[in-house]
């Protein structure tokens, strides 16, 4: 069952990479978002994918009922999602500022700032 998810991850990575290689800054933002999904899914899929229970301990028990999903990568992804949101907002605002300051919607025109 993991196989189709491997394909989905590959497709998301390919799409994200393609988008961040574009010149239009909006497309780059979209590409970064796609890469974020891809990375989160990757961690989620490769760590013991189970259709089983969430990692919750039922009241009165001492451990989740097996088979349960691996809690550790979930904790990683959870913070990654929220941080991803913060970073995405930061990127968007950064591009907005660059656009306002230089008037360039074409990332190539921002090259001058690196010179």
């Amino acid at each position: 069952m993991e196989f189709i998810w491997a394909i989905v991850i590959g497709a998301l990575y390919a799409a994200g990479l393609y988008m961040i290689m574009r010149r239009s800054i909006v497309k780059i933002i979209l590409g970064l978002a796609l890469l974020g999904y891809a990375a989160n899914l990757l961690i989620f899929i490769v760590s013991n994918l189970t259709r089983g229970n969430p990692p919750l301990v039922p009241p009165g028990a001492t451990a989740p009922i097996a088979p349960y999903a691996d809690p550790l990568p979930q904790a990683l992804i959870l913070t990654a999602i929220v941080i991803g949101f913060g970073v995405q907002a930061f990127t968007i605002v950064l591009f907005r500022r660059a656009y306002r300051s230089f008037g360039a919607d074409d990332i190539d025109e921002l090259r001058t700032t690196e010179r």
Binding site: M1, E2, I4, A11, S24, T62, P64, L72, D105, T112
Partner: protein, 793 residues
């Protein structure tokens, strides 16, 4: 003892406040600290002279054998007294010299940091500790040379000294680590007992080379001597303290300290005497060719350091004794002369000896101090310098070559001493840029005290010998050694021969002083040699590296984002494929790959088609909607496979993201088809290759067993240890809460960054001069609609 050594760092923090509270007396106040420390060290003299070594240890990184341990024996104490004593005078001096400088507080801070670091070097009993302090002196030296950072020359000189001594420091660290490996200890007091093991070890020559490289660069030995004259860009108090009396002697100190471990072999003797002698000759020879007072003194310092290295190389009891006496004598007279130079520069506006003369009437006290110190430098009785020279000659009597070297160096030193005293203070007064008058108390106290110190040490040589030089010599030799130090050793035997050599030195020196017109001609004749010297190699290396960096930056950092990304993808592809090929990794299809439920397939298809939709979207709105579908699809995936926490978080974030996009993206330009078709095809090919690689890597990772002890531990102990039944949340707020703390800090930083990007506008930056995309509304105020000019201003 720990307090004594480290108090300088505390003082350094307080110094700027002192300067703010009492700008006129900051130097005096700051000098209290080294003064108290000096008293403390003096109080230790009787104990240490009795043959005891004081030790204090504090475990720092016990796992690596790194301790913060300190040990004070004769050698440490001699240096500690120099550091604190001269430090006291230098801080007072700096307060006067930089009285009108608003940055005086910074100068005092750096000097105190340096003092503490230097004390750390000489008292550290752990080699790693010693190294840390060693590097601290390098850094403070860098900052002090670059004190007048608005001048490019100062910055360059600072960088030069940092690079030269820094590279030496790295070599030293390697040497220390090897020493630690061989002897099994990093504590000096232990290591000093294992010299035989080290000398017999096959790695001995490597260690020797590394340690000598470190010591030679620090102590400005030929061919690395060039950074020291450059360091004269520093304000004079710094030159007086770091670059004559103390820091440059750190290399000498290290050699003396490690003498029982590394010394005594033929290689040691040969290398040290050779490089020491070469430094002596080069230094003294260059010194007499200079006209800048500070450079004269700098080169004589180089030559003096060479003398010390040479004497340690000879290694006999007499030679070590000579080195210790000379260390003390040199620090006293050179510290004084540097401060005199500073006062002269300060009061007349020039340091060029061809523009100076007859200052004795205008600056009588400074002149007297200078004369006294120069007497010591020239080696005349009854100064300590005289005794130092006598014992030096005596130590070398059996080696005709070394006697020749010493004779030549000492003659030229006499000439240099005459330059800095007779030339400047006697003769007819010369017109100077500023009208000369006596320096203030804070600026003549130091030279006078140091010069009198040289006189006193000469007069009370017996006591000095018993209390300071004897214990120091003993620690270098690794045995108790009674040292007799007398002003008048008589005219029989070796003492008589040494006295005769002194006479020759003095006569020849004075003769050469009156024939000084030959020096510029010699300088002109030997100038082409400089092109072969290490300094030119240094410049060539540095400029070559800059050129290389510039070229590769031009190629790699050409400003095209997609070029960077393509480079990353290609590199990853190549490296990973290589590893897959070499590692013979077989990609196995997961066994249950056909086991797909319909709704899972449906979610996967939603994500795939939404992704395709984003790629093909021609309007921003459509793309944002597509992206939202990808996000909700991801959230559903989390939900399907046991991650409800992830799913709700993803849903919430998706919602906020959508608002964010709608708010901002509409203000950003419309999609344009900016790239050419071929560029798009190239990107597509790369992107597909990258995506395929990720799929393959995912499959490989899936084939690996994924039993995680960590996860099951956390799952099974969540309830019992952390009172929580949601394991994911327990990991976040309990098991790994420190990580979470870091992550929410990142979030806070991101929020502040966004706020700053949006709210803070550089005043000069005008609001945009471009048309906005008016598709949502065109009513935004303050945004002109027409492109008025090209923005690339």
């Amino acid at each position: 003892m720990l307090t004594a050594v480290l108090s300088g760092f505390g003082g350094a923090i307080a110094a700027p406040w002192l300067h703010r509270l009492a700008p006129r007396h900051a130097g005096w106040l700051a000098a209290l600290l080294p003064f108290v420390l000096m008293i403390y060290f003096i109080s230790l003299v009787p104990t240490v002279a009795g043959g005891e070594a004081l030790r204090f240890s504090y475990a720092w990184v016990p796992g690596l054998g790194v301790n913060l341990s300190f040990r004070i024996d004769g050698l440490s104490l001699l240096f500690a007294l120099l550091i604190t004593g001269i430090g006291t005078l230098v801080l007072i001096y700096a307060g006067g010299y930089l009285a009108n400088d608003p940055m005086l507080g910074r100068m005092l801070t750096l000097l105190l940091i340096f003092m503490a670091a230097m004390l750390g070097i000489v008292t550290s009993d752990n080699l790693i500790g010693l190294f840390v302090f060693w590097e601290l002196t390098t850094i403070s030296s860098y900052l002090l040379i670059g004190y007048k950072h608005e001048y490019e020359k100062a910055r360059k000189a600072a960088l030069q000294s940092l690079l030269v001594t820094g590279i030496g420091g790295l070599a030293l660290l390697a040497g220390i680590v090897l020493l630690g490996q061989i002897t099994g200890t990093l504590e000096l007091s232990e290591m000093l007992k294992r010299g035989d093991t080290v000398r017999a070890h096959p790695l001995y020559s490597s260690i020797l080379a590394l340690v000598l490289f470190g010591a030679f660069t620090k102590s400005a030995q030929f061919p690395f001597h060039f950074w020291l004259p450059g360091a004269m860009e520093a304000p004079t108090p710094v030159s007086s303290y770091l670059h004559s009396a103390t820091m440059v002697k750190a290399g000498v100190f290290l050699l003396a300290r490690l003498n029982p471990v590394l010394g005594g072999t033929e290689a040691w003797q040969l290398l040290l005497t050779f490089f020491g002698s070469a430094t002596m000759i080069v230094g003294s020879f260059l010194a007499v060719q200079q006209t800048d007072l500070k450079r004269i003194l700098a080169y004589t310092t180089v030559s003096a350091l060479g003398t010390l290295v040479m004497l340690i190389g000879v290694g006999t009891d007499d030679a070590i004794k000579a080195a210790m006496v000379f260390t003390l004598g040199h620090a006293l007279y050179k510290g004084a002369l540097f401060q005199v130079t500073g006062s002269v520069d300060h009061e007349t506006g020039t340091r060029d000896i061809s523009h100076l003369g007859g200052l004795r009437t205008a600056m009588p006290i400074t002149a007297a101090a200078a004369m006294l110190a120069a007497l010591s430098m020239a080696g005349l009785p009854p100064m300590l310098g005289f005794i130092a020279k006598e014992v030096q000659y005596k130590a070398n009597l059996s080696e005709p070559i070394l006697i020749g070297v010493a004779l030549l160096t000492n003659i030229l030193t006499v000439v240099a001493a005459s330059f800095v005293s007779l030339r400047v203070f006697t003769g007819q007064p010369v017109h100077t840029p500023k009208h000369a008058h006596e320096a203030p108390l804070s600026m003549w106290l130091g030279p006078v005290a140091l010069a009198l110190g040289g006189l006193g040490a000469g007069l009370f040589s017996t006591q000095i010998g018993n209390l300071l030089i004897g214990p120091a010599t003993g620690s270098v030799l690794g045995k108790v050694k009674a040292v007799e130090l007398v002003l008048w050793a008589g005219i029989e035997g070796a003492a008589g021969q040494a006295l005769a050599l002194s006479g020759v030195t003095l006569l020849a020196g004075i003769g050469l002083y009156y024939a000084r017109s030959i020096f510029p001609r010699i300088a002109a004749a030997t100038a082409p040699l400089a092109a072969l010297g290490a300094e030119s190699w240094y410049h060539r290396t540095v400029s070559g590296m800059l050129l290389l960096a510039e070229r590769q930056t031009r190629i790699l950092q050409n400003g095209y984002l997609r070029f960077y990304i393509a480079l990353i993808i290609i590199t990853t592809l190549i490296l990973t494929s290589l590893m897959l090929l070499v590692g013979q990794v077989t990609i196995t299809m997961p066994q249950n790959w056909t086991d797909v439920r319909v709704y899972e397939l449906a979610v996967a298809l939603i994500i795939l088609s939404a992704t395709a939709f984003v790629l093909r979207a021609t309007s921003r709105m459509a793309a944002v909607v597509g992206l939202g579908f990808v996000g909700y699809g991801t959230a559903l995936t989390f939900l399907l496979f046991g991650g409800p926490d992830l799913a709700i978080t993803q849903f919430a974030v998706e919602t906020l993201s959508a608002i964010l996009f709608v708010l901002v993206v509409y203000r950003l330009p419309r999609f344009g088809n900016l790239s050419s078709v071929s560029a798009r095809l190239r990107s597509a090919a790369l992107a597909i290759a990258g995506g395929a690689l990720m799929t393959i890597l995912t499959l490989i990772a899936l084939a690996e067993p994924t039993e995680s002890r960590l996860s099951s531990f956390m799952a099974e102990n969540s309830q019992s240890l952390a009172n929580g039944r949601n394991v994911v949340n327990v990991i976040l707020v309990d098991f790994r809460s420190f990580d979470t703390l870091g992550e929410i800090t990142v979030l806070g930083v991101a929020a502040i960054g966004i706020y700053a990007l949006l709210k803070l506008v550089v005043p000069s930056e005008q609001e945009p001069r471009v048309e906005t995309d008016g598709s949502l509304d065109g009513k935004t105020e303050g945004v002109p609609r027409e492109r008025t000019e090209v923005i690339d201003a």
